[in-house]
Each structure stands twice: as C-alpha cells, then as structure tokens.
Amino acid sequence: MKGYTGKYLRVDLTTGDIRTERLPEEVARKYLGGYGFVGWTLYEEVPAGTDPLSPENVVCLWTGPVAGTPVPVSSKYIMGALSPATGFIGFGIASGGIASELKAAGFDGIVVTGKAPSPQYILVQNGRAELRDASDLWGKTTWETEELIREELSDDEVRVSSIGPAGELLSVLANVTNDRNRQVGRSGIGCVMGSKNLKAIAIRGTGDVEVADLDGLMEFSRDLYKRCRGPATEKYRVFGTPANMLVHNRLGCLPSYNFQKGTFEKVEDVSGERMLETMVKKITACPSCPIACDHINEVKEGPWAGTVSSMDYESLELLGPNCGVSDLNAITKAVELCDTLGIDTISAGVTVSWAMEAFERGLLTSEDVDGLDLRFGNGEAMVEAVRRMSLREGNLGALIADGSARAAEKLGKGSEKFAMVNKKLEWGAYSLRPLQTATLGFATSVRGACYLRSGSYQPDVKGTVDRYHLDSSRGKVVFEGENLYAIIDSLIICKFTRGIYKDNTEFTKLIKLVTGFDWSVEEMIKTGERIHNQAKLFNVRFGAKRADDYPPPRAFEEKLYDDVSDGAIIIRAEYDEALSGYYEERRWDEEGIPTKALLEELGLDATLGV
C-alpha cells in the first residue's frame, strides 16, 4: 500500500500497553485518511453513552496519505475524540511537522485509550513508541513543554504536540499545540488529553515516505508550487488571513460586539494592512508550504512588549472587533496566552465577548468579574479575562472556563440568548445574518459552528446567491462543499490550496500519484459523502437531532443594524426550509437522521438509519 505506512499505534494508557496494528487497505480505500479515519475510529470504538472525560473515550491522531510528501501544504494531521464541548464528534486539524514526522517514523496514526495513573507523554521514534514520565511537565505551557522534551531527549528535531494548563484543568475549550504556533484548536481535544493524564505526544522519524509514483508526484508538486505563488493565494501570502478584515467589514459580515454588529468602526486599526505595517516580524511557512500565510506579530512597546505570537483572521477578529478591541498589542498578547496556556482562540474570543455583553447589560456584577472593567473595547480586561479563563482563576475564570454556552447556563437571566454557539461550540468570525448560506453550513456542521466543513460562506461572499435570504436550494451548496471538503480533510491538504487545483480531476490525479487508487471524480465525491455520513452517524449515536442544527437565537430575534446592514435578520421559516432542503439533499430524514438506503449504498452501518 503506497501513501500509507500501513501501520498505526495503539496505546492503552491504563495498562501502559503499546501495540502496532495493521491499517487494513479496505479502510484506506473506504475512508482515505485524516477526517475519514477519525470518523472510522470513533464510530468503531466509542459506544453510546460514553462520558467524554472518562477513560473510555478515545483520542486519536491521524495523518492522511499525502502527509510527508512534497505536495504543497500536506504536512497536516488531525486529532479526534468524543468532544467534551459538544458531546458529538470532536476533531481539529493542524499543520506543522507532526504529520510528516509521524509518517517518517513509520506510522499513519495513533489511537489512545484509557487513563494514565500519572502524567505521561508518548514518545514515537522510528518504528516504536514508549510512555515517558511527564510529572515535571505538568503545569508547563505548551511552548515550555516542547522545549523541555527536546532538551530531555537532546534532539532539536523532535516534534511535539502538547496541552497547556487549560487542558490539565479540563477546560472544554482546551486545544493541542505543536510547533508553537499550530493548533488542533476546536472541540476540546486538549481537555480529553488532560482527562487521560496525557501531556504530550512527541515524534521523531527518519525513514522514507513512500508514494505510488514519485517522479510524477514531484513533477505535479512543482507545478502546484508555481500555482501557489499565483493570484489564488496572493492574499494569504501578503497579509495572511487577516486580509479578510477589511473585506468582511465592507461586506458587513465582520462580527463586532459579540455579533451585535457586522462592521467595526475602528477596523482600520486592526486590518491585515495595519498589522503588516506595524506588527509583523516574520512570515513563516509550515513544512511543504509554498504559500506562507503565518504572520508572526511582535509587540514592540507597552506592558506586553516582547510578546511574539502568530496571528490569523479568526483569532484577530474574535479577540479584537468581536470584543470591541482595536489594540493589536492586546490581541497579540491574548493569542500568546491562548497558545501557551492551551485554549482555543475562537472559543476564547467569543466567550469573552459574551461576558462583556453580560457585564454591560448588568447581568454580571463587578464581583462576578473579579473587579475587571469588562466593557467592550477594553483590551487590558480582555487579556486578563483570557488568562483567568485559561487558568480557571477567580470568579470570572470559574464562570467562563468552559465557554459561553456553559457560562450562560450557570448565569441564566436570558444570557443564553446571546451565547453565540451551535452545539455549545462558539461561532467562527463570520456574521450570521448577512451571510445566511454560511450560517446554514456552520449550524449543520458535525463538529458545531464550523466554518471549515463546507466553505458555505463562499457563495455569500462572492455574491452568487442572495446572502440576506435562504431557500431550499442552499442545501445543495452545503452538501457539495462538505463532500469535497471531506476529501480535502482526509488527504489532508491545506484548504488555502483548494483554489490552485483546476478542477476535481486534479484531486483524483493527486490521489492516484500518492496512493495508486485509480478513482473517478464520482468515486472520490462518493467517498467524501461516506466520510461525512460516518461522522454524522457518530453524532446520531450521541443523540443528534434537528434542533442541534440551528444558529443561536440572535440570528432570528434581533435585526442587524450597522454601516452595511439595515435590519438584516434570518427568517425562521426560510431557515427551516433551507435546513429541510439540506437534509433532503443529504437523503436524511426531517430530524437529520440518514436513511438506511443511503447508509447501505455508502457501505456504512445502517443500524441507526431510518
């Protein structure tokens, strides 16, 4: 089997038993890799009723077939578990050196079960793995953990994925960090690692990565490198993803003040353009990436001088305008805290903005927020709130450490209405009411509030649909996006490269060069559909129903007024129709349960089907 090592590690933390297992070729053909393998692992191994923080939950790390190859931006891995944040499938994809290193070490993935009796980390080296004591690493930040493990092993090239204190303290927003600036951000995978006493996974490999057609793949890759330097990726190269700030503000879909508005009056102060001019110290790339979107900011003055952190659109937007904050220094500091203490920047930003709104509405007292002046726009208070949230410190930390949905449940008083979540996970940095196809895609996503599952914002942003209204035809847009993205997330390649492939035949060409699988476009898309349905089926096992596929109440109950929108709102009947249209396209019933006929056609377990 080419494109795969054909082996994965199974680590039982309870017993300390480590085994190498064979990856069956039929699994590779059926689920391709990455996202597909996460769905397969979790569906096979996590039964209904499992408590996400119990030893019975499984945390897995998978690569896809392109990992470790010269294909542009192919060094990506995925981690998955039953999410403690949503109670459904949880996963996150990160770049950096982990994926290629694991391949070179001889494994496609790692499946971890049980709970270690004391803090430990997994060390994977060429063809073998061991558990090592992590007592001295417990309490350390992710950046310290990476350095300490490299020192301990006297090897600078060891790649490390680790959790910070937030994961140890079981925050459901806890993420996993590797190579300092890359995160498995969403779904609380870091929390599951913390619950298992698993501080880190360290990997070092020096073996070969095998593909079906090396010469053909290098030739294709060189062609793709050239395209990566062309117009399709220019905005990422110059300003990084913060290029979106001004674009989204013009479109009125830049969330500000906890999604109360879609424009921000001080957007110029936090634009990608301003950031490049005043903050960016270095532009860096992940392994095998010819784009280099990663913009590393440095704070030059003030209380946070010397802070260096990686800034992307979502972090900048949600810790910035969505909290009313226009101070790039404060936002850079907040991102550093999130990355080092181990919390997701998206959830952090949207949780702080919820607390700010609750404070301004008088629902949170000064005592509730430890005396902070938690008004919108106060950068210092935002930074301190992020720190307290990550460390569960004080009244404020205790209230918001597990995100806005749980904080709102505790607080009550109607604050649930402005917790900007779907499936209890915080919404990405796209306004709901002026981007209604996007909203449908986010709300129906299997991992919750997700902008990365279908690219459903694209038709809205490009203007190919009426973005202020919904109808049943939008289901098809989400359906098609999800099926293709399931392939992208299973290969796994960076979504920023999607525009450089001329059409879907180039994805099948890539698959053939790497794995030798000679798929038609139809077979590939069908595989994407299978992968997505497998993930959905896992959610059905955990009780997913129609009500879970709705955006937060603000979308339906408050009209949006700002510099661009004049009373935009999502009409509930239109949303209902669009959602039904999506289910119909998917061949799911009105509650979003896949039909038996569909599951059988896709070769999936039909037990839960209708």
Binding site: T69, D208, Y225, K281, K282, A285
Partner: protein, 158 residues
C-alpha cells in the same frame, strides 16, 4: 580559476517550508526522506529561518578532520567523500561549522552537497518557492549587498 559558487540563503525570504529538503532527497536519493537532504533547514524560534548547505570553505575543516583522508576537494570547491575510505566515524560532521555533512546510516559513510553538478543549478535553488536560495559567488553576494545599500541611500536622498 573560476570563482566558487555556493548556495546562499536570504533569511528574510526563507519561510522554513523545507521544500528544499524534500526536493534534495527526491532528486539525489530517489526517495522522500528529508533527513537525507544535503541542505538543512534550521529554525530558531520564534522568527529565524535559514537553509544551509556546504559553504565550500577555503580551508575545509571536514578535510582536516578526516583521519582516513576520505574527504577530498574537487575543482569547483565542493568536497567529495570517498566511500571506500570513509568508515562513518563522523569527525567531518563534528568539524563542520555549518552542519553541512550528514551520516548515511545505511551506507555507513558521510555525505554532503555536490551542488547537483549534473544540473548546473542545484535542485533546491531551482525549486525554492520563495526564491530565498541562490546559487552564486561570494563576490556577487557582496556586489548585490553594495547595490542594495546604495539604492537605499539614493531613495533616502530623493
């Protein structure tokens, strides 16, 4: 004698993508294995990246260090390791100030960059998507630096 050409890396342009390492191992070894690349990417956190290959030193320490006279200098200034003489002791690797030699565990012998003599331009330079790598002479590097400095003065004065 023709001026020696070496691979220089513009650290402002280098992003740490390691595509040079992939390209090198694929071209020179016909396999994907970046640990067998002749050029080596080094990142010093948080913001410094460089790719380094053999510098064609005037007085190569690798040659001096070899107890078996297995390292010899060629007419273009690059060094070649005589596989029959090398026993993989690794002193040349220790001696090199740039980490430009590596040990081949399978062949039990050291290896280093030959600048893709058969290609004219080294593959890494050819492939670097950021044009951070250049195959050039130190004299030309100096000339370019002078030009750049002078351009800045002109811009400041105008």
């Amino acid at each position: 004698m023709e001026a020696k050409k070496i691979i220089v890396c513009d650290t402002e342009k280098c992003t740490g993508c390691e595509i040079c390492e992939y390209a090198c191992s694929i071209y020179k070894e016909k396999r994907i294995n970046w640990s067998r690349s002749r050029i080596r990417h080094v990142r010093i956190e948080p913001t410094f990246d460089i790719a380094i290959a053999c510098r064609k030193c005037e007085e190569p320490l690798c040659i001096k260090a070899c107890p078996r006279d297995a390292v010899v200098v060629l007419s273009d200034g690059s060094v070649k390791i005589d596989k029959d003489k090398c026993n993989g002791c690794g002193w040349c690797i220790e001696a090199c100030n740039f980490g430009a030699l590596k040990l081949d565990w399978e062949k039990k012998c050291a290896f280093t960059c030959d600048f893709c003599a058969d290609l004219g331009t080294p593959m890494c330079v050819e492939v670097c998507p950021y044009e951070a790598l250049e195959y050039t002479t130190l004299d030309q590097v100096g000339h370019e630096a002078g030009k750049k400095a002078f351009k800045r003065i002109i811009e400041e004065l105008s």
